[in-house]
Protein backbone atom coordinates (compact mmCIF):
# COMPACT_ATOMS: atom_id res chain seq x y z
CA UNK A 1 0.00 0.00 0.00
CA UNK A 2 1.38 3.34 -1.06
CA UNK A 3 -1.37 5.68 0.08
CA UNK A 4 -5.00 4.69 0.54
CA UNK A 5 -7.15 6.42 -2.10
CA UNK A 6 -9.85 3.85 -2.79
CA UNK A 7 -11.55 1.02 -0.92
CA UNK A 8 -13.51 -1.53 -2.93
CA UNK A 9 -15.93 -3.42 -0.71
CA UNK A 10 -17.44 -6.83 -1.05
CA UNK A 11 -21.10 -6.95 0.03
CA UNK A 12 -22.23 -10.39 1.25
CA UNK A 13 -20.85 -11.24 4.66
CA UNK A 14 -18.58 -8.22 4.58
CA UNK A 15 -20.66 -5.02 4.53
CA UNK A 16 -23.74 -7.07 5.31
CA UNK A 17 -23.83 -9.41 8.28
CA UNK A 18 -25.21 -12.14 5.97
CA UNK A 19 -26.17 -12.73 2.33
CA UNK A 20 -28.37 -10.31 0.43
CA UNK A 21 -30.16 -12.97 -1.64
CA UNK A 22 -31.08 -14.79 1.52
CA UNK A 23 -32.84 -11.68 2.78
CA UNK A 24 -30.03 -10.24 4.92
CA UNK A 25 -30.38 -6.49 5.34
CA UNK A 26 -28.42 -5.80 8.50
CA UNK A 27 -25.19 -3.92 8.04
CA UNK A 28 -22.15 -5.29 9.82
CA UNK A 29 -21.36 -2.73 12.59
CA UNK A 30 -17.58 -3.02 12.04
CA UNK A 31 -18.01 -2.26 8.35
CA UNK A 32 -20.29 0.68 9.09
CA UNK A 33 -17.77 2.16 11.52
CA UNK A 34 -14.93 1.87 9.01
CA UNK A 35 -17.05 3.28 6.16
CA UNK A 36 -17.74 6.36 8.30
CA UNK A 37 -14.01 6.79 9.01
CA UNK A 38 -13.19 6.46 5.30
CA UNK A 39 -15.82 9.07 4.38
CA UNK A 40 -14.34 11.48 6.92
CA UNK A 41 -10.85 10.97 5.42
CA UNK A 42 -12.09 11.48 1.87
CA UNK A 43 -11.15 7.96 0.77
CA UNK A 44 -13.24 6.88 -2.23
CA UNK A 45 -15.45 3.85 -1.69
CA UNK A 46 -16.87 1.48 -4.28
CA UNK A 47 -18.72 -1.81 -4.27
CA UNK A 48 -18.01 -4.99 -6.23
CA UNK A 49 -20.52 -7.72 -5.63
CA UNK A 50 -21.67 -10.91 -7.35
CA UNK A 51 -25.39 -10.43 -7.08
CA UNK A 52 -28.24 -10.18 -9.55
CA UNK A 53 -28.62 -6.48 -10.39
CA UNK A 54 -32.41 -6.64 -10.02
CA UNK A 55 -32.23 -8.28 -6.59
CA UNK A 56 -29.57 -5.79 -5.52
CA UNK A 57 -31.57 -2.76 -6.68
CA UNK A 58 -34.74 -3.85 -4.93
CA UNK A 59 -33.07 -4.94 -1.71
CA UNK A 60 -30.80 -1.92 -1.33
CA UNK A 61 -33.08 0.96 -2.26
CA UNK A 62 -33.24 2.15 1.34
CA UNK A 63 -29.54 1.77 2.10
CA UNK A 64 -28.27 5.25 2.90
CA UNK A 65 -24.67 4.11 3.14
CA UNK A 66 -24.64 3.40 -0.60
CA UNK A 67 -24.99 7.14 -1.35
CA UNK A 68 -21.37 7.68 -0.38
CA UNK A 69 -20.13 5.07 -2.89
CA UNK A 70 -18.69 6.54 -6.08
CA UNK A 71 -19.24 3.37 -8.09
CA UNK A 72 -21.15 0.11 -7.66
CA UNK A 73 -20.49 -2.90 -9.89
CA UNK A 74 -23.16 -5.54 -9.52
CA UNK A 75 -23.56 -8.66 -11.66
CA UNK A 76 -22.95 -12.39 -11.51
CA UNK A 77 -19.65 -12.23 -13.40
CA UNK A 78 -16.21 -12.66 -11.83
CA UNK A 79 -15.41 -10.20 -9.05
CA UNK A 80 -12.03 -9.42 -10.52
CA UNK A 81 -13.67 -7.92 -13.66
CA UNK A 82 -15.71 -5.59 -11.50
CA UNK A 83 -12.63 -4.52 -9.56
CA UNK A 84 -10.73 -3.82 -12.76
CA UNK A 85 -13.66 -1.85 -14.13
CA UNK A 86 -13.76 0.31 -10.98
CA UNK A 87 -10.00 0.94 -11.10
CA UNK A 88 -10.23 1.89 -14.80
CA UNK A 89 -13.21 4.19 -14.39
CA UNK A 90 -11.85 5.99 -11.35
CA UNK A 91 -8.30 5.92 -12.71
CA UNK A 92 -6.83 4.83 -9.38
CA UNK A 93 -3.68 2.74 -9.19
CA UNK A 94 -4.06 -0.69 -7.50
CA UNK A 95 -1.12 0.30 -5.28
CA UNK A 96 -3.40 2.93 -3.75
CA UNK A 97 -6.37 0.60 -3.41
CA UNK A 98 -7.66 -1.85 -0.81
CA UNK A 99 -10.15 -4.59 -1.58
CA UNK A 100 -12.05 -5.57 1.56
CA UNK A 101 -13.63 -8.96 1.94
CA UNK A 102 -14.18 -11.06 5.04
CA UNK A 103 -13.56 -14.24 3.02
CA UNK A 104 -9.84 -15.11 3.05
CA UNK A 105 -10.12 -17.13 -0.19
CA UNK A 106 -11.61 -14.13 -2.04
CA UNK A 107 -8.89 -11.87 -0.70
CA UNK A 108 -6.11 -14.17 -1.83
CA UNK A 109 -7.77 -14.71 -5.19
CA UNK A 110 -8.03 -10.97 -5.89
CA UNK A 111 -4.52 -10.26 -4.62
CA UNK A 112 -3.16 -12.78 -7.12
CA UNK A 113 -5.19 -11.41 -10.04
CA UNK A 114 -4.84 -7.66 -9.45
CA UNK A 115 -1.18 -6.88 -9.05
CA UNK A 116 -0.42 -4.32 -6.35
CA UNK A 117 -3.84 -4.24 -4.69
CA UNK A 118 -4.06 -4.74 -0.92
CA UNK A 119 -6.66 -7.37 -0.05
CA UNK A 120 -7.72 -6.93 3.54
CA UNK A 121 -10.28 -7.98 6.12
CA UNK A 122 -12.25 -5.23 7.86
CA UNK A 123 -9.99 -5.62 10.92
CA UNK A 124 -6.89 -5.17 8.75
CA UNK A 125 -8.33 -2.03 7.17
CA UNK A 126 -9.22 -0.70 10.62
CA UNK A 127 -5.66 -1.39 11.74
CA UNK A 128 -4.27 0.50 8.75
CA UNK A 129 -6.47 3.52 9.50
CA UNK A 130 -5.39 3.55 13.14
CA UNK A 131 -1.71 3.35 12.34
CA UNK A 132 -1.89 5.92 9.52
CA UNK A 133 -3.68 8.98 10.87
CA UNK A 134 -4.04 11.88 8.41
CA UNK A 135 -4.96 15.53 8.56
CA UNK A 136 -8.02 15.88 6.37
CA UNK A 137 -7.97 18.78 3.94
CA UNK A 138 -11.03 20.48 2.50
CA UNK A 139 -10.26 18.87 -0.87
CA UNK A 140 -10.00 15.40 0.67
CA UNK A 141 -13.31 15.78 2.49
CA UNK A 142 -15.04 16.70 -0.77
CA UNK A 143 -13.31 14.03 -2.87
CA UNK A 144 -16.32 11.69 -3.37
CA UNK A 145 -18.43 14.72 -4.35
CA UNK A 146 -15.76 15.79 -6.87
CA UNK A 147 -15.71 12.31 -8.42
CA UNK A 148 -19.49 12.43 -8.85
CA UNK A 149 -19.18 15.87 -10.49
CA UNK A 150 -16.49 14.46 -12.76
CA UNK A 151 -18.78 11.61 -13.81
CA UNK A 152 -21.50 14.12 -14.77
CA UNK A 153 -18.94 16.27 -16.60
CA UNK A 154 -17.73 13.31 -18.67
CA UNK A 155 -21.29 12.22 -19.46
CA UNK A 156 -22.23 15.74 -20.61
CA UNK A 157 -19.02 15.98 -22.62
CA UNK A 158 -19.90 12.73 -24.40
CA UNK A 159 -23.35 14.05 -25.27
CA UNK A 160 -22.16 17.43 -26.58
CA UNK A 161 -22.37 17.85 -30.37
CA UNK A 162 -19.89 20.69 -30.39
CA UNK A 163 -17.04 19.80 -28.02
CA UNK A 164 -15.38 23.22 -28.11
CA UNK A 165 -18.69 24.99 -27.47
CA UNK A 166 -19.23 22.62 -24.53
CA UNK A 167 -15.80 23.44 -23.07
CA UNK A 168 -16.39 27.17 -23.50
CA UNK A 169 -19.71 26.89 -21.68
CA UNK A 170 -18.10 25.13 -18.69
CA UNK A 171 -16.78 28.44 -17.31
CA UNK A 172 -13.41 26.92 -16.32
CA UNK A 173 -11.37 29.15 -14.02
CA UNK A 174 -7.86 28.62 -12.70
CA UNK A 175 -6.96 30.89 -9.82
CA UNK A 176 -3.25 31.36 -9.25
CA UNK A 177 -1.80 32.85 -6.09
CA UNK A 178 1.21 32.65 -3.80
CA UNK A 179 1.45 29.79 -1.31
CA UNK A 180 0.26 30.62 2.22
CA UNK A 181 0.73 28.69 5.45
CA UNK A 182 -2.91 27.51 5.26
CA UNK A 183 -1.93 25.55 2.12
CA UNK A 184 0.74 23.46 3.88
CA UNK A 185 -1.35 20.33 4.45
CA UNK A 186 -2.87 20.37 0.99
CA UNK A 187 0.47 20.97 -0.72
CA UNK A 188 1.95 18.07 1.22
CA UNK A 189 -1.02 15.99 0.09
CA UNK A 190 -0.45 17.00 -3.55
CA UNK A 191 3.24 16.10 -3.38
CA UNK A 192 2.40 12.77 -1.75
CA UNK A 193 -0.67 11.64 -3.69
CA UNK A 194 0.24 12.73 -7.20
CA UNK A 195 2.37 10.29 -9.17
CA UNK A 196 1.81 10.97 -12.87
CA UNK A 197 2.27 14.74 -12.86
CA UNK A 198 4.88 15.02 -10.16
CA UNK A 199 8.44 16.09 -10.83
CA UNK A 200 9.46 14.20 -7.69
CA UNK A 201 13.14 15.05 -8.06
CA UNK A 202 13.50 15.79 -4.37
CA UNK A 203 12.61 13.11 -1.84
CA UNK A 204 9.18 13.96 -0.42
CA UNK A 205 10.40 14.85 3.07
CA UNK A 206 13.04 17.18 1.69
CA UNK A 207 10.56 18.83 -0.68
CA UNK A 208 8.23 19.53 2.24
CA UNK A 209 11.01 20.75 4.49
CA UNK A 210 12.22 23.11 1.77
CA UNK A 211 8.69 24.42 1.29
CA UNK A 212 8.43 25.27 4.94
CA UNK A 213 11.86 26.92 5.15
CA UNK A 214 11.81 28.40 1.72
CA UNK A 215 13.51 31.75 2.40
CA UNK A 216 13.21 33.84 -0.70
CA UNK A 217 11.83 31.08 -2.90
CA UNK A 218 8.52 31.45 -4.72
CA UNK A 219 5.83 28.87 -4.25
CA UNK A 220 2.72 29.21 -6.38
CA UNK A 221 -0.57 27.41 -5.86
CA UNK A 222 -3.36 26.93 -8.43
CA UNK A 223 -7.05 26.25 -7.79
CA UNK A 224 -9.54 24.93 -10.32
CA UNK A 225 -13.24 25.59 -10.67
CA UNK A 226 -15.92 25.12 -13.30
CA UNK A 227 -19.69 24.95 -13.60
CA UNK A 228 -19.67 21.44 -12.19
CA UNK A 229 -17.90 22.32 -8.98
CA UNK A 230 -14.89 23.56 -7.11
CA UNK A 231 -11.97 21.15 -7.39
CA UNK A 232 -9.87 23.13 -4.93
CA UNK A 233 -6.09 23.40 -4.92
CA UNK A 234 -4.81 21.20 -7.75
CA UNK A 235 -1.35 22.51 -8.59
CA UNK A 236 1.86 23.67 -6.91
CA UNK A 237 5.19 24.86 -8.23
CA UNK A 238 8.23 25.71 -6.10
CA UNK A 239 10.70 28.06 -7.80
CA UNK A 240 14.16 28.72 -6.47
CA UNK A 241 15.84 31.78 -8.00
CA UNK A 242 19.37 30.88 -9.05
CA UNK A 243 21.92 32.86 -11.07
CA UNK A 244 21.32 34.91 -14.21
CA UNK A 245 17.61 35.48 -13.70
CA UNK A 246 16.97 31.77 -13.78
CA UNK A 247 14.57 29.73 -11.65
CA UNK A 248 15.12 26.12 -10.70
CA UNK A 249 11.86 24.22 -10.35
CA UNK A 250 12.33 22.30 -7.11
CA UNK A 251 8.85 20.80 -6.90
CA UNK A 252 6.00 20.61 -9.36
CA UNK A 253 2.81 18.62 -8.93
CA UNK A 254 -0.49 18.91 -10.80
CA UNK A 255 -3.52 16.83 -9.88
CA UNK A 256 -5.08 14.45 -12.38
CA UNK A 257 -8.30 16.44 -11.87
CA UNK A 258 -6.84 18.67 -14.55
CA UNK A 259 -6.35 15.84 -17.05
CA UNK A 260 -7.77 16.36 -20.55
CA UNK A 261 -9.28 19.63 -21.76
CA UNK A 262 -5.80 21.23 -21.81
CA UNK A 263 -6.13 22.15 -18.14
CA UNK A 264 -2.82 20.82 -16.86
CA UNK A 265 -1.01 22.83 -19.52
CA UNK A 266 -3.05 25.94 -18.67
CA UNK A 267 -2.25 25.39 -15.00
CA UNK A 268 1.48 24.95 -15.50
CA UNK A 269 1.78 27.90 -17.88
CA UNK A 270 -0.44 29.99 -15.61
CA UNK A 271 1.72 29.27 -12.55
CA UNK A 272 4.98 30.04 -14.36
CA UNK A 273 3.47 33.28 -15.66
CA UNK A 274 2.43 34.38 -12.20
CA UNK A 275 3.07 38.14 -12.32
CA UNK A 276 4.82 38.12 -8.93
CA UNK A 277 7.71 36.13 -10.39
CA UNK A 278 9.72 37.09 -13.43
CA UNK A 279 12.52 34.91 -14.72
CA UNK A 280 14.38 34.73 -18.00
CA UNK A 281 14.52 30.95 -17.84
CA UNK A 282 13.07 28.05 -15.93
CA UNK A 283 15.14 24.96 -15.44
CA UNK A 284 14.13 21.58 -14.08
CA UNK A 285 15.35 18.01 -13.91
CA UNK A 286 13.09 15.27 -15.10
CA UNK A 287 13.65 11.80 -13.71
CA UNK A 288 11.36 9.04 -14.87
CA UNK A 289 9.82 7.33 -11.82
CA UNK A 290 7.83 4.69 -13.66
CA UNK A 291 4.62 6.74 -13.67
CA UNK A 292 5.41 10.37 -14.42
CA UNK A 293 5.75 10.29 -18.22
CA UNK A 294 2.58 12.43 -18.59
CA UNK A 295 4.52 15.17 -16.79
CA UNK A 296 7.30 14.90 -19.37
CA UNK A 297 4.64 15.39 -22.08
CA UNK A 298 3.25 18.36 -20.21
CA UNK A 299 6.69 19.95 -19.97
CA UNK A 300 7.12 19.47 -23.71
CA UNK A 301 3.68 20.98 -24.36
CA UNK A 302 4.65 24.04 -22.32
CA UNK A 303 7.75 24.49 -24.48
CA UNK A 304 10.49 23.05 -22.26
CA UNK A 305 13.47 21.97 -24.37
CA UNK A 306 15.70 19.07 -23.38
CA UNK A 307 19.28 19.99 -22.63
CA UNK A 308 21.08 17.32 -24.67
CA UNK A 309 23.18 14.89 -22.68
CA UNK A 310 21.57 15.79 -19.34
CA UNK A 311 18.28 15.08 -17.56
CA UNK A 312 17.55 18.81 -17.52
CA UNK A 313 14.95 20.82 -19.39
CA UNK A 314 14.92 24.54 -20.04
CA UNK A 315 12.09 26.92 -20.78
CA UNK A 316 12.92 30.45 -21.85
CA UNK A 317 10.63 33.36 -20.97
CA UNK A 318 10.12 33.91 -24.72
CA UNK A 319 8.88 30.34 -25.23
CA UNK A 320 6.70 30.57 -22.14
CA UNK A 321 5.14 33.73 -23.56
CA UNK A 322 4.34 31.84 -26.77
CA UNK A 323 2.66 28.89 -25.00
CA UNK A 324 -1.03 29.07 -25.79
CA UNK A 325 -3.56 28.65 -23.03
CA UNK A 326 -6.83 27.20 -24.39
CA UNK A 327 -9.44 29.90 -24.87
CA UNK A 328 -11.95 27.99 -22.70
CA UNK A 329 -9.78 28.50 -19.60
CA UNK A 330 -9.71 31.73 -17.67
CA UNK A 331 -6.57 32.42 -15.62
CA UNK A 332 -7.15 34.59 -12.55
CA UNK A 333 -4.45 36.29 -10.50
CA UNK A 334 -6.50 37.73 -7.64
CA UNK A 335 -3.83 39.34 -5.47
CA UNK A 336 -2.05 41.27 -8.19
Amino acid sequence: MRILKLVIWDLDETILAGILEEGEKEINPSAEKVMTQLRARGVLQALATQNQPQVFRTATQNYNWLDGFVQTEVDLGPKVDKIRSILDTLDVNPLDTAFVDEDAFERDSIAVQVSGISAWSIAELEGYLQSNPVTVTEEARRRPEMYSAQKTRVQDEGKADDYLAFLRACDIKITIRPYASKDATRVEELLTRIHQMNLGVLPLEEAITRLNFRGGHDVIVAELQDNYGDMGRCGIVHLNATENDEALIESLAISCRTSARGLSLAMLVGMLRYPGVKFERFRCRYIYNGLNRPLRMLLMGAGFKPLQGTDELILSAARLARAEVPDWVQLNYPLI
Binding site: S259, R261, M300, G301, F304, P306, D311
Partner: protein
Protein backbone atom coordinates in the same frame (compact mmCIF):
# COMPACT_ATOMS: atom_id res chain seq x y z
CA UNK B 1 10.11 13.88 -61.50
CA UNK B 2 12.54 10.94 -61.66
CA UNK B 3 11.45 7.54 -60.43
CA UNK B 4 13.49 7.72 -57.19
CA UNK B 5 12.03 11.03 -56.03
CA UNK B 6 8.57 9.88 -57.14
CA UNK B 7 8.93 6.77 -54.97
CA UNK B 8 10.10 8.95 -52.05
CA UNK B 9 7.06 11.21 -52.43
CA UNK B 10 4.77 8.19 -52.33
CA UNK B 11 6.58 6.87 -49.22
CA UNK B 12 6.34 10.25 -47.50
CA UNK B 13 2.65 10.41 -48.30
CA UNK B 14 2.17 6.92 -46.87
CA UNK B 15 4.03 7.95 -43.73
CA UNK B 16 1.90 11.08 -43.43
CA UNK B 17 -1.28 9.02 -43.81
CA UNK B 18 -0.08 6.61 -41.12
CA UNK B 19 0.78 9.46 -38.74
CA UNK B 20 -2.60 11.13 -39.29
CA UNK B 21 -4.31 7.77 -38.81
CA UNK B 22 -2.42 7.24 -35.51
CA UNK B 23 -3.45 10.70 -34.33
CA UNK B 24 -7.10 10.00 -35.18
CA UNK B 25 -6.88 6.61 -33.44
CA UNK B 26 -5.40 8.25 -30.35
CA UNK B 27 -8.13 10.87 -30.26
CA UNK B 28 -10.70 8.08 -30.44
CA UNK B 29 -13.14 10.14 -32.41
CA UNK B 30 -12.70 12.55 -35.25
CA UNK B 31 -13.78 15.71 -33.50
CA UNK B 32 -11.15 17.66 -35.40
CA UNK B 33 -10.04 17.16 -38.98
CA UNK B 34 -6.31 16.48 -38.92
CA UNK B 35 -4.22 17.99 -41.71
CA UNK B 36 -0.43 17.88 -42.19
CA UNK B 37 -0.24 21.40 -40.74
CA UNK B 38 -2.63 20.95 -37.81
CA UNK B 39 -0.95 22.16 -34.65
CA UNK B 40 -0.91 19.31 -32.17
CA UNK B 41 0.25 21.08 -29.04
CA UNK B 42 -1.08 24.59 -29.38
CA UNK B 43 -4.14 26.24 -30.85
CA UNK B 44 -7.00 23.80 -30.43
CA UNK B 45 -4.90 21.59 -28.12
CA UNK B 46 -5.37 18.40 -30.08
CA UNK B 47 -3.27 16.52 -27.53
CA UNK B 48 -3.27 16.80 -23.78
CA UNK B 49 -0.35 15.17 -21.94
CA UNK B 50 -1.99 11.75 -21.68
CA UNK B 51 -3.06 11.65 -25.33
CA UNK B 52 0.36 12.78 -26.43
CA UNK B 53 1.93 9.97 -24.43
CA UNK B 54 -0.49 7.50 -26.01
CA UNK B 55 0.32 8.81 -29.49
CA UNK B 56 4.05 8.41 -28.86
CA UNK B 57 3.55 4.84 -27.63
CA UNK B 58 1.52 4.07 -30.76
CA UNK B 59 4.29 5.56 -32.91
CA UNK B 60 6.91 3.46 -31.14
CA UNK B 61 4.82 0.32 -31.71
CA UNK B 62 3.96 1.07 -35.32
CA UNK B 63 7.41 2.07 -36.52
CA UNK B 64 9.39 -0.13 -34.13
CA UNK B 65 11.58 2.70 -32.90
CA UNK B 66 11.96 3.88 -29.32
CA UNK B 67 11.56 7.62 -28.91
CA UNK B 68 14.05 8.76 -26.27
CA UNK B 69 13.29 11.52 -23.79
CA UNK B 70 15.78 13.85 -25.48
CA UNK B 71 13.61 13.78 -28.62
CA UNK B 72 10.49 14.84 -26.71
CA UNK B 73 10.58 18.33 -28.08
CA UNK B 74 7.64 20.52 -29.03
CA UNK B 75 9.34 21.43 -32.32
CA UNK B 76 9.24 17.74 -33.31
CA UNK B 77 5.64 17.19 -32.24
CA UNK B 78 4.34 20.53 -33.49
CA UNK B 79 2.38 19.20 -36.50
CA UNK B 80 1.99 15.90 -38.41
CA UNK B 81 4.46 17.33 -40.93
CA UNK B 82 7.18 17.85 -38.29
CA UNK B 83 6.48 14.38 -36.91
CA UNK B 84 6.92 12.87 -40.40
CA UNK B 85 10.16 14.79 -40.86
CA UNK B 86 11.43 13.40 -37.57
CA UNK B 87 10.36 9.86 -38.46
CA UNK B 88 12.09 10.05 -41.81
CA UNK B 89 15.34 11.09 -40.18
CA UNK B 90 15.03 8.37 -37.54
CA UNK B 91 14.12 5.64 -40.01
CA UNK B 92 16.96 6.71 -42.30
CA UNK B 93 19.43 6.72 -39.41
CA UNK B 94 18.27 3.32 -38.16
CA UNK B 95 18.23 1.75 -41.65
Amino acid sequence: MDSISEAQTVDNQKLMNTVIHLIAETLGQTRVRIKPTTQLLSGQKIFDSYRLMEFILRMEDTFGIPIPDEDLDSDIFDTPRTVVRYLLSRLEKDA
